[in-house]
């Protein structure tokens, strides 16, 4: 019998209370009649208890739907608030987790590190410049911290097969690179390292994406021939999907063979290194190991390595600290939204509880037990949470693709993060708990009393008003504070973007289009042959109607940000501090400065006559001249760069080579016609810039025809306007701003709704008092003043801590502010005005309602 009583506990309490006694009596009789009664009953209880719970749930759901239908405004507001909180947080944290924390998809990814050139003094981040083969070899051979180390550089090749020639991004890697990543090829093999790779000089490994797009995923692709830059290669392997190395864009790998002659010039930096730490070796130990080598290299080769060190970092951290900070700011903002969401939801529920108390008291008076009331309210909260959660997932799913702009392209991961279900569950749980907590309050109050409080049944008496009212006031103040933080933060970032956008890039980007024609080796090994190509293309393009100038350059500013060289000035000591002695170097054809709108300050432009065999001409930037020959005329001065003596023929304005937000080295321009035959392919001019009037669409077809006429196998790639290039400088910032701005707008809206809700509730509750005041002759304006001043008090209560918190937040993200002061008065003032306006807007309807209270009606209803 005791067992049966225990079994009955499985039924809902309300059911047990009604029928428990009868069932126990029935069971007693049945047991007398049958020895199987207990077993039968156990099955019966299990089956029917579940069904009884389902009955109750269905009933509660029906009731919930009815009650939410009656208060549509509340239901809509609650679902929207939950959806915003859940959606914003899921999206923000999904992206942040993907970029910052999720391990890379390599085996033991934490042991993967990258090694580049860096200043001897340390500092900076990421790969600041490349290593020369000789320095790479020494770091590799003289350290003992690494299991394996390999070198690579990114390249792009012209893939000629069927149809249009294609330009494909790839990487040249030493044979150590792919094995040390630890990912086995999907098909075939990677480069053979036993013979030093010599057997694989004409082999190519495809990425999964290229295999799919260019070879239709054909499993018989191994052994097939492809033509890269005019040279036949053989496909020896296909890597699995999700392998991105060194960047997301890399579509294929060819073998990098370092021969003796590659090691002669220690200043020829073009390699990056990737390595795997030995088990048990920490980053710090490896860094110490590298430091010893760097010191030795500095001693042995002071002319090249005197100022040079290395930058060494985990592969996971291949991104600028700005990205990190930006994402953390975004996470902070969405946490603010979650806080705001919960405060708003609590406020909504507390307001509803006021109205509810009476209803619950009635139901309790009619015999509903505490358990049923609680259960009903839990069901209602759950319905709201689930509906809000579903809408939140929809919001997050829509937001994540937008946020994927914040995924840095230097990181070897897919471009689009997936939704993080753990975050979703957490955000949903937090909002559901808030809903439960504040929803249950009224039910527990009613159920907690021994008798039924009949005072709650009387119309017009707000019970338990004082404490709840204070809680609601605090919640509204918190909402104001949070929205102030978000408004000020996004305001500061907007000012930072404005400031960056107003920076002069040093050239005039409007009406300039750029396109790339990389001349493949060995077809264009001879400089003379390349110059012929440039001249033919440039002559024809300049003859096109509307074209005001055209020229070739090694790499566009802000696109090609690296490529530096050391220079030697006769009679000038090599000084410490690396930036001083390193300049960015580009090879250009004639008319480059005119086409780009870079002012020629003195002397002359590079000319077509500056070819090999004549004196090496150099055009330098203003900062270059100022640095090396301060106060003197630089024209005619000579210096040594790239192993040859150069004479300054002209001075031009400085250009923001590395981007709007970064400092740059002085700039040196050499003549395209004077590049050495043996020069590295990256030095070749390959970007054609054209200044024109008219539309890009009209310009491009004839330019394509001209390139095609000069070389039918020559592909064109990277077509872009310089406007886009400059706009791209602030693209991530603007993407981030849009997100932050949207969050701030939501926050403002939510706290406006919070203020409105509170005041509307207050007015409804105090309508009697307001009526009496009006009846006693109070002016409507004084009533209005009373309400507005209450709203303003709450706003002030939130404003002060909000501004302080915003200041703290701004200090934390100073690196993003680009010199805008964390306590920027204009931003703070603007926010205060905005928040006050929002308060006034939120109190408008309640004020109107209050002054329209009809004293007679109110008093009569008493």
């Amino acid at each position: 019998m005791r067992f049966y009583r225990l079994l009955l506990l499985l039924y809902p309490a309300s059911f047990r209370r009604e029928y428990g006694a009868d069932m126990i009596a029935d069971f007693a009789r049945r047991r007398r009649e049958s020895s199987w009664a207990l077993l039968d009953s156990a099955f019966d209880v299990l089956k029917n208890a579940a069904a009884a719970h389902w009955d109750v749930l269905r009933q509660d759901l029906r009731y919930t739907v009815r009650s939410l239908k009656r208060s549509r405004g509340f239901a809509f507001a609650a679902v929207a608030v939950i959806a915003i909180g859940v959606g914003a947080n899921t999206a923000a944290f999904s992206v942040a987790d993907f970029v910052l924390f999720r391990p890379l998809r390599f085996p033991d990814p934490n042991a993967l590190v990258r090694l580049c050139w860096g200043p001897r003094t340390g500092g900076g981040w990421g790969c600041m410049n490349q290593l020369s083969p000789a320095n790479y070899r020494d770091y590799k051979n003289m350290t003992s911290s690494f299991q394996a180390m390999g070198a690579y550089f990114g390249n792009a090749v012209n893939l000629v097969g069927s149809g249009e020639p294609q330009r494909i991004s790839g990487a040249q890697v030493t044979s150590d690179v792919l094995p040390l990543l630890g990912v086995a090829p999907l098909l075939g093999r990677v480069f053979d390292s036993t013979s030093g790779g010599a057997t694989d000089a004409r082999s190519v490994v495809l990425s999964y994406g290229l295999w799919q797009s260019q070879f239709g995923g054909d499993p018989r692709v191994l052994g097939r021939g492809v033509n890269l830059n005019g040279t036949p290669y053989e496909v020896i392997g296909v890597m699995p999907p999700d392998l991105y190395f060194p960047t997301r864009e890399t579509k294929m790998w060819t073998l990098l063979l370092l021969r003796d002659e590659n090691y002669t010039d220690r200043s020829d930096n073009y390699l990056e290194a990737v390595a795997r730490l030995k088990p048990g070796v920490s980053m710090d130990q490896a860094r110490a190991d590298l430091n010893v080598v760097a010191a030795r290299l500095a001693r042995d080769y002071p002319d090249v390595n005197g100022d040079a060190g290395f930058s060494f970092f985990a592969m996971r951290d291949t991104m600028s600290p700005r990205y990190r900070l930006m994402l953390l700011a975004l996470c902070g903002a969405s946490l603010c939204i979650l806080l705001l969401t919960c405060a708003n939801l609590a406020n909504l529920l507390l307001a509803r509880a006021g109205a509810r108390e009476r209803e619950l008291a009635v139901r309790a008076a009619l015999g509903a037990g505490k358990e049923r009331l609680v259960r009903q309210i839990v069901t209602e909260s759950m319905v709201l949470a689930v509906a809000g959660g579903i809408a939140g997932v929809a919001i997050a799913a829509a937001a994540v693709p937008l946020l994927s702009l914040l995924v840095p392209d230097t990181l070897p991961v897919a471009s689009r993060p997936s939704l993080d279900l753990r975050v979703l569950a957490l955000a949903a749980a937090i909002t559901a708990l808030t809903g439960l907590g504040f929803g249950l309050l009224p039910a527990l109050r009613v159920g907690g009393r021994t008798g039924v409080d009949l005072s709650a049944l009387r119309e017009g008496i707000g019970s338990g008003g004082g404490r709840k009212q204070r809680l609601r006031n605090v919640l509204v103040a918190v909402e104001v504070a949070v929205s102030v933080v978000l408004l000020i933060s996004s305001g500061l970032l907007i000012r930072a973007v404005w400031r960056i956008q107003s920076i002069d890039p040093g050239f005039v980007p409007e009406r300039v289009v750029a396109l790339r024609t990389v001349l493949p080796r060995p077809k264009y090994d001879m400089t003379q042959r390349r110059v012929q190509f440039y001249n033919r293309v440039l002559t024809d393009v300049r003859a096109l109607p509307g074209v005001q100038g055209a020229a070739y350059i090694t790499g566009l500013p802000m696109v090609m940000t690296g490529r530096v060289t050391g220079i030697v000035i006769p009679g000038r000591e090599v000084s410490a501090g690396f930036r001083n002695e390193v300049v960015t170097v580009r090879s250009v054809t004639s008319q480059y400065f005119r086409t780009m709108g870079i002012p020629l300050l003195r002397g002359r432009d590079i000319e077509e006559g500056d070819i090999r065999g004549r004196a090496n001409a150099a055009v330098v930037s203003e900062s270059f001249a100022e640095h090396y020959w301060p106060g003197a005329d630089p024209i005619g001065r000579t210096f040594e760069a790239r192993g040859e003596v150069r004479a300054v023929v002209g001075v031009v304005g400085d250009v923001k080579v590395r981007g709007l937000e970064r400092a740059e080295e002085p700039q040196l321009y050499l003549s395209a016609g004077q590049v050495a035959d043996t020069a590295f392919i990256n030095d070749d001019p390959k970007d054609l810039v054209v200044r024109y009037s008219g539309t890009t669409a009209a310009l491009l077809p004839p330019v394509r025809n001209i390139v095609h006429g000069a070389d039918t196998e020559q592909p064109i790639s990277n077509v872009q306007t310089l406007d886009d290039v400059v706009a791209g400088e602030t693209a991530t910032r603007r993407a981030q701003l849009r997100v932050l701005g949207a969050l701030a707008a939501i926050a403002l809206l939510l706290s406006g709704v919070g203020i409105y809700g509170l005041l509307a509730f207050t007015v409804a509750q105090r309508s009697r008092e307001i009526g009496v005041r009006l009846a006693l002759g109070a002016e409507p304006s004084s009533v209005a003043r009373m309400i507005v001043s209450k709203a303003m008090k709450l706003t002030l209560l939130g404003l002060v801590p909000g501004v302080l918190a915003a200041y703290a937040a701004a200090l934390g993200m100073r690196a993003l502010l680009f010199g805008v002061a964390p306590a920027d008065p204009a931003t703070i003032l603007g926010t205060v005005v905005l928040v006050c306006l929002m308060t006034l807007a939120g109190s408008l309807v309640p004020v109107l309602r209050a002054v329209r209270v009809n004293p007679m009606l109110v008093l009569r209803s008493e």
């Binding site: 029917n48 208890a49 009884a52 009955d55």
Partner: protein, 120 residues
């Protein structure tokens, strides 16, 4: 309680247990255990309502207004005081009649098609 034809139709077809309970209460107020016994007797032991099924059905039928709980007690020697007694409501009687009619129609249709029991 006022009810309309459409209220009745909305309940059809009645669950088997509901129909049997209505039949058991057609002419006599009974408590739960008595209903169980009556159904078993009427069906020659073929249908034995379990307590769970019975009381869940009773709960639902009370909510639907098919039956009511009654305070009138039978003769003291027959009364089991711990028991609640149930009585068929007019709405319940109407529902039972409508269900009977529905089944009769079904049986007639089946007969017309030669589906009487015992025939090949």
């Amino acid at each position: 309680m006022a009810y309309s034809r459409s209220d009745v139709d909305a309940l059809l077809p009645l669950p088997l247990a509901t129909f049997h309970i209505l039949i058991a209460l057609a002419h006599e107020d009974r408590h739960g255990y008595a209903i169980m016994l009556d159904v078993a007797k009427r069906t020659d032991g073929e249908l034995r309502l379990s307590p769970g099924t019975l009381y869940r059905s009773i709960q639902r039928m009370l909510e639907q207004g098919l039956i009511t709980e009654t305070n009138e007690r039978p003769a003291p020697e027959l009364d089991d005081e711990r028991r609640r007694y149930y009585r068929i409501a007019p709405f319940g009687a109407a529902a039972a009649r409508a269900e009977t009619q529905r089944m009769a129609n079904l049986v007639r249709m089946a007969r017309v098609e030669g589906l009487s029991p015992g025939r090949a």
